[in-house]
């Protein structure tokens, strides 16, 4: 349970990090909060030749409201965003999701961008970003590009990020008037990996449901407003479409059960 040897470079700016990535590419891993990467290093699931620590890069510690989105840069911790008094008005879905995200002791160091970049299929922040139609800003030495969440998440722990890019910023769209938001999760123990994470957004015209922990990436489904049997039928179809598998945490049948029942509970609460 000790990491294999690596070189460690503490970067003072994003410029330094992308310059080093241009040089070392796949041999380097970016370390921000490390709450996903450090366990992988300790268990030697990951054995990079070099770690680029961006946690003290001053230009990456910024959170701001900009152009209709809450923009969170790469070194901002989850606790820092969770602690924004205005978060409940800015991105209410995030405010509801944070308590399920690991534990306060890991949120104190773990970053928002790091969780997005790691792209665990059961993670809360990727689910929220996909659900809200957010964006990821990727930056290499030569260019900066913005990728929609749908394109960014490509599978379990797999994203559109190239080896020479950092996730510089993620952008969560601000709450829209007339939309209501809810988040719920079932895990073995509070703060563990989700067996099923569920997000719902209801407006006058539509229902959106997002599911984490079942498919290989966050799954977002849109329907017109549905009630009663129609809603049950739609949720049942969704539960089967997700192709839930059995694993050591839960059976596929239990996951389908959770999607149907947790989904109905969240949507009915929002439609009241």
């Amino acid at each position: 349970m000790k990491p294999a040897a690596f070189d460690y470079i503490r970067c003072d700016s994003a410029d330094e990090a992308v310059a080093l990535l241009a040089e070392y590419g796949d041999d380097a891993r970016v370390l921000a909060g490390g709450q996903s990467l450090m366990p992988m290093l300790n268990m030697r699931v990951a054995q990079p030749k070099m770690l680029l620590d961006i946690s003290r890069a001053a230009d990456l510690t910024v959170t701001r409201v900009d152009d209709g989105a809450l923009a969170v840069r790469a070194a901002v911790t989850q606790s820092a965003v969770e602690g924004r008094p205005s978060l409940v008005d800015e991105v209410p879905l995030l405010a509801q999701a944070f308590p399920h995200l690991g534990h306060v002791q890991t949120r104190n160091r773990g970053t928002v961008c790091g969780s997005i970049a790691h792209a665990d299929p059961s993670a809360e922040l990727p689910l929220c970003l996909a659900m809200l139609g957010g964006e990821v800003v990727l930056r290499s030495r030569s260019r900066r590009r913005t990728v929609h969440a749908d394109e960014f998440f490509q599978g379990s722990l797999s994203t559109a990020r190239q080896p020479t890019e950092i996730v510089e910023e993620v952008r969560f769209p601000l709450a829209r008037g007339g939309e209501r938001y809810a988040f719920a999760e079932i895990a073995m123990r509070h703060g563990d990996f989700a067996i099923v994470g569920l997000a719902a957004v209801v407006s006058a015209a539509e229902i959106r449901v997002g599911v984490g922990g079942v498919a290989d990436r966050p799954w977002v489904q849109r329907w017109p407003r549905l009630v009663d049997d129609e809603l049950d039928a739609a949720l049942n179809q969704l539960a089967w479409d997700l192709d839930a598998r059995d694993d050591q945490h839960a059976s596929g049948a239990y996951r389908r059960h959770l999607v149907r029942n947790l989904g109905r509970k969240l949507i009915e609460e929002l439609q009241q």
Binding site: K2, A5, F6, G34, M38, N42, Q105, N108, G191
Partner: protein
């Protein structure tokens, strides 16, 4: 930019429990191991080494974090507090430690050091916590002896005691 090469031991200076300390560390050395083996802070307990059990929790620049999910080189220049910081100079227990003893909030004590560091941060941040908030904070720690309830009671008792002490009259 600062570079630390593998397989070499680098001089790391940090503040441990209010005192400037210096030790030597490879880049891959975990903060938990550095605190124990290099600086002698053996109150830092090492359990799972992947961030689940919470035994190694310390305060880094004030915030409660897993020292097994941090590198010693990354803590350079930072302010680290371990359980050794809690008791008074003659070994007198802090109010939190005394409450843990009074309420039987520990048995074997392995998890206790981490829980005390989380609780000390938590009570500064939330002076009037609900039981639910205490349990949410505690969800980041595993204890196999107590069943958690005495720990919750002890933390709530300290919060109430501190409020009484600071309330006017």
């Amino acid at each position: 930019m600062k570079r630390f090469t593998r397989d070499a031991r680098h001089r790391i200076e940090l503040t441990l429990n209010g005192v400037k300390r210096v030790g030597h560390s490879e880049p891959r050395t975990l903060l938990s191991d550095f605190l124990r083996h290099e600086l002698g802070a053996t109150g830092v307990h090492v359990g799972c080494e992947h961030g689940v059990c919470g035994a190694c929790t310390v305060r880094i620049d004030g915030s409660a974090q897993r020292s097994c999910l941090s590198l010693a080189v990354a803590a350079e220049g930072q302010d680290v507090q371990t359980v050794e910081a809690l008791a008074g100079p003659e070994g007198s227990l802090s109010d939190l430690q005394a409450a843990f003893r009074r309420h039987h909030a520990l048995q074997c004590g392995f998890c206790t050091a981490g829980i005390l560091m989380s609780a000390s941060e938590f009570l500064e941040r939330m002076p009037e916590p609900t039981e639910r908030q205490v349990r949410e904070m505690l969800s980041g720690h595993l204890c196999r002896c107590t069943g958690y309830t005495p720990i919750v009671v002890a933390i709530l008792a300290v919060a109430a005691q501190r409020r009484r002490q600071t309330s006017p009259g």
